[in-house]
């Protein structure tokens, strides 16, 4: 295309996607934007890990955390020296970064490989966040749609109030109430944990072991185990999902209301399509776009909020483990987990932006 401006410095060969003049240059800009975003993921993660590295050194060391109060200061200093903690900080940083680039993420203080730790606990958090999101979508989207189409009615008021309430209550408070009502008083669900003791023991011997218990229990092949795992997932998923569900509800409602007023919806109505079809097929798709945008942030928020849910419901995942490592000042473990989370968030953010850029013709770069 002759009108691809030379000054854009396109790094890629352009393929023609259409015959119209507008189509080609947009595709170039899109690909260029996405490529830059992709390339920026690594520097973002690196920046974060570096900041965390230096910050962790400010707040104390793992030996003092573990041995303080039982050994003399001299003994602690000796041990710190032996562990190599007194070397120049830049040397330690360089060693860490070069190891990182070779795929050696270090070992925790109690001698576990960081990669193993991240995978094992990450799988647990992934399962929790998955169930939580499922609940959030199941609550937020249909209820948000209902609220939007019945705007300013009593049910709209009740729903919005409930959504705000779900957001306002601290998640560990909600967790406690759920435990109290559904476990202790009603006895419908277990108090915590990911599975009953027997089931958990049995699932240790599954191959391949994913640590995503619902998958493991299906692989194991015992239906009662699958039920057990699902039973244990209910309360934590609801606690986590209520919070996000409330946010989704309000988002869907607001964006659906906006979309319902737009021109193309009026046009659809004018063509005689029923309200249900208009809302369901035409408006909802547009209204879901902002939710996708927020998803990246939501996942990050869930990872953060997960530590509270994980502690309340004995769901030992990455959030909980990160808090433990922070308490123990285990530098390497914290850096490793933060790096992983940073990469995850960056990738999610990129995917979300790419999806939105692709499907929403209004987005410009």
């Amino acid at each position: 295309m002759s009108d691809v401006p030379a000054a854009s410095g396109s790094l890629i060969r352009v393929r023609r996607f259409g015959w119209t003049r507008g189509g080609g240059s947009r595709q170039v800009a899109l690909l260029r934007y996405l490529l830059i975003r992709l390339l920026l993921i690594l520097p973002t993660a690196w920046l974060l890990v570096t900041v965390v590295f230096f910050l962790m050194r400010v707040i104390g060391d793992p030996i003092s955390a573990a041995m303080g109060g039982r050994l003399t200061q001299d003994q602690i200093e000796q041990r710190k020296e032996a562990a190599g903690l007194n070397r120049p900080i830049l040397t330690q940083y360089w060693e860490y970064i070069t190891g990182f680039l070779h795929g050696d993420f270090g070992r925790t203080q109690d001698n576990q490989a960081i990669g193993d730790v991240v995978i094992t606990y990450g799988a647990a958090t992934f399962e929790l966040v998955f169930w939580g999101l499922l609940v959030a979508f199941a609550i937020g989207v249909p209820l948000g749609r209902y609220a939007a189409t019945h705007r300013d009615s009593t049910s709209d008021a009740v729903l919005r109030f409930a959504a705000v309430l779900a957001y306002a209550a601290p998640v560990f408070f909600v967790g406690m109430l759920l435990k109290l009502i559904f476990s202790v008083w009603l006895g419908w669900f277990p108090v915590g944990g990911r599975a009953s003791t027997d089931v958990e023991l049995a699932l240790q011997h599954v191959s391949p072991k994913t640590n995503i218990l619902i998958i493991d229990s299906i692989l194991y092949g015992e239906p009662s185990y699958v039920l057990d795992v699902l039973e244990h997932a209910v309360l934590p998923a609801v606690a986590l999902g209520l919070l996000t569900g409330g946010i989704f509800l309000r988002l869907v409602r607001v964006n659906l209301i906006q979309t319902l007023r737009s021109d193309f919806v009026e046009a659809a109505r004018a063509r005689g399509l029923s309200a249900r079809v208009v809302t369901g097929r035409h408006a909802m798709r547009n209204a879901l776009i902002p939710i996708i945008t927020v998803m990246g942030m939501c996942i990050a928020m869930m990872l953060g909020g997960a530590v509270l849910t994980e502690t309340t419901f004995e769901w030992k995942g990455l959030g909980y483990q990160l808090a433990e490592y922070l308490r123990a000042r285990d530098f390497i473990a914290v850096q490793g987990i933060v790096a992983f989370i940073a990469l995850l968030v960056a990738v999610m953010s990129f995917v979300v932006d790419a999806v939105v850029a692709l499907i929403d013709p209004r987005v410009r770069f």
Binding site: A66, H205, D216, Y220
Partner: protein
């Protein structure tokens, strides 16, 4: 239809793991390492108690070390402690347990000297030598160290298989579980670190703990004591051990669905005084302030109101129930707060009242009730009219950095014993180069400490231990003991044996439990 599909996916099993979890014990402690060279914490101790054997160990209910893997141990010369090992012992790996294994275990602990390990407990060990296939000789630096036999059952003493464990580095948990280089009453059949561990009775064990009364035990790890308690009340687990809050224990005692058992505990809670920075212009005034404080705290109120009797008042430096315990502070300063006496101490030394105190504590390292404890202490001290207390709390890592560098004039501290000997409450605290680092050092006390650690006659030793405590309480008061702890375990009614293991050795053994 779904069930059929699910049943069809059943190809994932590797092997049958056995018939379920057996007796389930819940705890909130965390395992640090299965390798003894790197394990110096309560969570790892619980595992070591079950899977390792020791030269000497404590039988349930006994606080004198008796032979476990050894046949006989004694001082062959004042500086050499010799142990003869039983013959025919094997590790769970199948390898024989010989004097070489013992030498290997102690050598590697000192060689690896892991920053998280208990090698400091072997401070008096010079070298370990193999005399013959079944005899081992420990050469000590200080002669006639009466505490050495009590160190053998501690976390410094597990015997490991020299063919399985690396000599110069720490083994990973997986390596330990796979290698089975241990010889205790149980073997580990399933290991999910800090989540679920399963033990099976070891038929080859020939030690002092005898045959386990159950064949399978599992330990379930909890993030909060709340969940531990709820699962116990629901019947999801059988025993809960470490740690419950006082409020929990109070309501559990009233619950007929569970049984609360307690036993002597070794934990000590006290206030440390920085001899230089504490209030008072001269050493005499500082001592007067300390004495006045000793007469003003209401330990019984702390024990009953704050801790709901899971702790008892401590009037001496060694907890009651331990050999050599004494209660000098009762006679000297009163069992109950005595305002007149406290005022007299201060007036005699010319200290102006009210004395302003900056008292520091840590909110979570010594249990979550520390804030209640110190709020009560503050109230008690201020009720006497003699003190004004500023209470402050700091997070743990900063806390013990500050306290060791004169950051706090008075601060909370606690101690959990390494081994059940009175000296473990005295030398580390008041001896030369002690860990308190509060600028307390007295040659007279040092001499008395050396005397008691090397006194072979038990009766004479007890006298010396009591005398040291009286001396400290009367003339120095470098710390103010407040409370000593009890071990508490909660169990379902059908479970028996819990009371047998809550003894003065502070080792929780699964071997005596059954349901």
């Amino acid at each position: 239809m779904v069930a059929a599909a699910l049943a069809g996916c059943g190809s994932g099993r590797t092997d049958e793991a056995g018939s379920g979890a057996g007796l389930v014990v819940g705890t909130t402690d965390k395992i640090f390492s299965l390798d003894p060279a790197a394990a110096y914490d309560n969570g790892s101790l619980l595992v070591e108690n079950q899977i390792y054997s020791y030269l000497l160990n404590f039988a349930p209910g006994d606080t004198t070390p008796k032979p476990d893997a050894a046949e006989k141990c004694e001082f062959s010369t004042p500086t050499v402690y010799t142990c003869k090992i039983k013959s025919g012992l094997k590790f769970a790996s199948g390898n024989p347990l010989t004097a070489k294994s013992v030498k290997f275990s102690f050598d590697r602990m000192l060689k690896i000297n892991d920053p998280h390990g208990p090698a400091s407990l072997l401070g008096n060990l010079d070298k370990t030598e193999v005399v013959d296939d079944l005899t081992v000789a420990f050469t000590l630096k200080v002669a006639n160290d009466q505490t050495f036999p009590t160190i053998l059952p501690t976390q410094a003493g597990p015997i490991v298989d020299e063919r399985v464990f690396p000599a110069d580095k720490v083994a990973t948990d997986d390596e330990v579980v796979q290698g089975k280089g241990y010889s205790g009453p149980y073997t580990i059949t399933s290991y999910d670190k800090n989540k679920l561990v399963e033990y099976q009775a070891n038929p080859d064990y020939q030690g002092i703990l005898g045959t386990p009364k159950n064949s399978t035990v599992s330990t379930k790890y909890y993030a909060t004591s709340d969940n531990l308690k709820l699962d116990l009340q629901n019947g999801a687990i059988d025993v809960g051990y470490r740690s419950f809050t006082p409020t929990d224990i109070d309501s559990l005692r009233a619950d007929s669905k569970v049984k609360v058992t307690d036993g002597p505990g070794g934990e000590l809670r006290y206030i440390v005084f920085n001899m230089n920075t504490m209030p008072g212009n001269t050493p005499e005034q500082k001592l007067a302030v300390r004495k006045a404080l000793a007469s003003s705290v209401d330990r019984e109120a702390l024990a009953s109101a704050v801790y709901k009797n899971t702790y008892q008042p401590a009037y001496g430096y060694v907890p009651q129930g331990m050999t050599g315990a004494a209660e000098p502070l009762k006679q000297l300063y009163g069992a109950k707060p005595d305002k007149t006496l406290a005022a007299k101490f201060l007036a005699d030394a010319g200290v102006a009242t009210p004395v302003t105190l900056n008292l520091q504590y840590n909110p979570d390292h010594y249990g979550s009730s520390s804030s209640e404890e110190y709020a009560a202490v503050k109230s008690q001290l201020e009720a006497s009219g003699l003190f004004k207390v500023n209470l402050q709390s700091t997070e743990w890592v900063t806390y013990q950095k500050e306290r060791a560098s004169d950051g706090y004039p008075m601060y909370q501290f606690g101690w959990f014993p390494d081994f059940p000997d009175a000296d473990n409450y005295l030398s580390p605290f008041f001896g030369p180069n002690n860990f308190l680092q509060s600028h307390f050092e007295n040659p007279g006390i040092n001499a008395q400490l050396t005397a008691e650690t090397t006194e072979a006659d038990p009766a004479k030793r007890v006298e010396l231990l009591r005398k040291i405590q009286t001396d400290l309480a009367q003339n120095f008061l470098p710390t103010l003991p407040l409370l000593s702890g009890k071990q508490v375990a909660v169990s379902k009614p059908g479970v028996s044996g819990v009371d047998q293991t809550l003894d003065g050795s502070f080792k929780f053994r699964f071997t005596v439990l059954s349901k």
